[in-house]
């Protein structure tokens, strides 16, 4: 199909939400509750019923203020877990809303386990157990009830900007109907999640999408912000997850829910032996990835989580718990005749992702969740500065972003004049969107993705390099990324699904460029494994207890520094 066959669909709304994942949906519901006469529209590339990280379900809420804890004690914990550097204002304002949003979602129909006294059953200090197989459908029903408009299967590709750099909507295309959607909005919330697929994954070929983070969250939100000149923060704090080998299932359930500890091939509890001063099994999350990675690198692998103390009853409970969140693990065990009560579970680190809700890569925002672009708010995994959000923190941020976006719309003066060259800009974007469909010959998105992933793996600290990197390698990564950027004009799609894949890889290339610039800039090792610079191996609080930010300008990515502010003692 060619450009001539596509049509433009123009839409006006008050509040536009890009990405109908968990934070986008909560934002939409909150906006309608707060301002029932507001027109709220979600643009979602998949279908909100089962899109994003929650597709398969969840088995716990990982950020909750259990009895005896406070938002302040949460901040203190998160600061320690992120090795001293977080936006305390963001983490605190999120923490203050956690319990309220959890109760809201419970009232919509989420089963949360309770003890005899009616208290939620905790699973570790900040976690509660849920039966979350249907969490996303439950949230999606509430979105419908709240009267939110939803357009599913629309991939958003860029923002619409006003004369004075205000975001006044967005543009994208329908994966089903091929139409070009141009949405003008009073305010916009970006909630597209993080980025998978930047690095070569643990498994390749037929299993290349057997990864932990959603392979369909491909960094669209980060990339749109980068292209529009939004300030981004902490991309260098990548997220690497400690996961069950091959199937890449979460291990938190094992450690927090079932008391499993890490052991190496010699049977040594190396976290206790070597990281006692940092908290042993309770060491900061990056260290819990760095520890086992080092064991393997130094020849003491494989590493395991020891579950052999579990009774048959507990094994059954463990399996049930995974069925709520990662069901294919149970198939994997059945297929390999594996019994976690008899053998320890082998674990490994994943390829690096960018996930603002676990680590803190994302938009630089204020406590109102306002980005540096006027009229644009950010929530969830795409928002930066506040790690340890998990599902509930994403809800809290969605709610905060919605409240402030609604205020912004109410107080807005006459709508700002559109850029005088907006029509030209629109046509440029229209052509950029559909160009891959026009090409007879060229490069398939999968080929370009593989090239990017190889470059990132080898030169920017991927799995094959035990996550380590130095300046020389990073500069080579940048050089290769620049070449890939020049190759984008050869991307070719045979149908609309492949057109989506083309934009996914283009977005990831833009994200990778900013990521490598951040990795180059921080000349210390603050978060081992997440960010290991072999040429600057130590942590240097004197010089580097500060945020590395960036903004893409005409002549390249400009690096900025922002200071750290301590709010909680």
């Amino acid at each position: 199909m060619g450009i001539s066959e596509t049509k433009i669909e123009s839409i006006e709304t008050d509040l536009l939400i890009i990405g109908g994942g968990t934070s986008g949906c909560l934002a939409a519901v909150k906006a309608r509750e707060k301002a029932p006469d507001l027109d709220v529209l979600i643009l979602e590339k998949a279908h909100i019923e089962r899109s994003g990280c929650l597709a398969a379900g969840m088995n716990a809420i990982n950020a909750y203020i259990n009895p005896g804890e406070t938002p302040e004690s949460f901040v203190e914990y998160v600061r320690k877990d992120a090795l001293g550097l977080i936006r305390e204002d963001l983490v605190l304002s999120m923490a203050q809303r956690l319990n309220e949003v959890v109760q809201d979602v419970e009232s919509w129909g989420l089963p949360i386990k309770k003890d005899e006294d009616g208290n939620y059953v905790s699973r570790g200090r900040w976690n509660i157990k849920i039966n979350g197989e249907a969490l996303k459908p439950i949230i999606a029903s509430r979105v419908k009830e709240a009267g939110v408009n939803v357009l599913n299967r629309v991939v958003v590709t860029n923002y619409l900007m006003s004369e004075d750099n205000e975001v006044i909507g967005a543009i994208g295309f329908g994966v089903r109907d091929g139409k070009c959607y141009v949405v003008r909005a009073g305010a916009t919330i970006i909630a597209t999640g993080g980025t998978a697929g930047l690095y070569k994954p643990n498994n390749d070929g037929s299993a290349h999408h057997k990864i932990w983070y959603s392979p369909f969250n491909t960094g669209g939100g980060y990339a749109m912000g980068i292209r529009a000149g939004a300030e981004m923060t902490s991309f260098e704090m990548r997220f690497i997850a400690l996961r069950i080998k091959d199937i890449v299932a979460p291990t938190g359930t094992l450690a927090l829910g079932f008391g499993a500890t890490q052991v190496n091939s010699l049977g040594e509890r190396f976290m206790q032996d070597k990281f006692a001063d940092m908290g042993a099994e309770g060491a900061p999350t990056p260290i819990r990835v760095y520890g086992p990675t080092r064991e393997v690198k130094e020849g003491r692998g494989p590493v395991f989580m020891d579950t052999t103390h579990l009774t048959d009853e507990e094994v059954k409970e463990l399996k049930a718990s995974y069925l709520n969140m990662y069901p294919d693990l149970i198939l994997y065990w059945a297929a390999n005749n594996f019994d976690p009560g008899k053998e320890p579970i082998e674990i490994e680190g994943t390829e690096p992702y960018l996930v603002g809700g676990h680590a803190q890569a994302g938009y630089w925002i204020n406590t109102r969740r306002e980005t540096t672009l006027k009229g644009l708010y950010a929530a969830g995994d795409v928002a930066g500065g506040a790690p340890y959000k998990f599902v509930s923190g994403c809800w809290a941020e969605g709610v905060i972003a919605a409240e402030n976006a609604v205020e912004y719309i109410k107080n807005k003066q006459e709508s700002k004049s559109e850029q005088s060259d907006l029509t030209k800009k629109l046509w440029d974007e229209y052509n950029r969107i559909y160009a891959p469909l026009e090409r007879e010959k060229g490069v398939k998105p999968r080929e370009m993705e593989e090239r990017l992933q190889k470059v990132m793996d080898e030169y920017a600290g991927g799995v094959s390099r035990y996550y380590e990197m130095n300046e020389r390698e990073l500069k080579l990564a940048l050089k290769n990324i620049k070449r890939l950027q020049e190759q984008i004009e050869f991307l070719k799609a045979d149908n609309l699904h492949e057109l989506m894949n083309c934009h996914e890889v283009v977005d990831r290339i833009d994200v990778a460029e900013v990521l490598v610039n951040h990795l180059l800039y921080r000349r210390e090792t603050r978060w081992p494994a997440y960010q290991t610079r072999t040429d600057y191996p130590g942590r240097d609080d004197q010089e580097w207890l500060k945020f590395v930010n960036s903004r893409r300008e005409q002549d390249g990515v400009k690096m900025l520094e922002k200071s750290y502010e301590k709010l909680v003692k």
Binding site: R50, A56, G205, H209, S214, P327
Partner: protein
């Protein structure tokens, strides 16, 4: 590896505007082929989230893990009800296990 379509069981959901498997796959991987049956665009792009397997009203879909990771013949079959899900597993030796889990609070379902 992805999902296997049992072409005998798949009806193509001709009466609905869009079959649920096509409608809800978070990766847009399912489509209706020339014979009017469900087909996956690329097995390797599947996340194994099992959304389509759970929702197909005719149980025509089954998750097959990539062979590089898992032996042949084990099965995991979900059955969805209003407020619960029943999972049946069968390992490579034919041993079965059944799990029944609540998915929604009774009054909301």
């Amino acid at each position: 590896m992805g999902v296997e379509v049992n072409k005998d069981l798949c009806t193509g959901c001709k009466n609905s505007s869009e079959p649920v498997c096509v409608k809800y796959c978070p990766g847009d991987l399912l489509m209706i082929d020339d014979e009017g049956k469900a087909a996956i665009r690329s097995m390797e792009d599947c996340w194994d989230c099992m959304v389509c397997v759970k929702l197909c009203p005719h149980k025509a879909l089954e998750t097959k893990l990539p062979y590089q990771l898992a032996d042949y013949k084990a099965r995991l079959v979900p059955e969805i009800y209003r407020s619960k899900i029943i999972w049946k597993t069968e390992d490579i030796e034919g041993q079965c296990e059944v799990f029944e889990l609540q998915t929604k609070t009774e009054d909301s379902a």
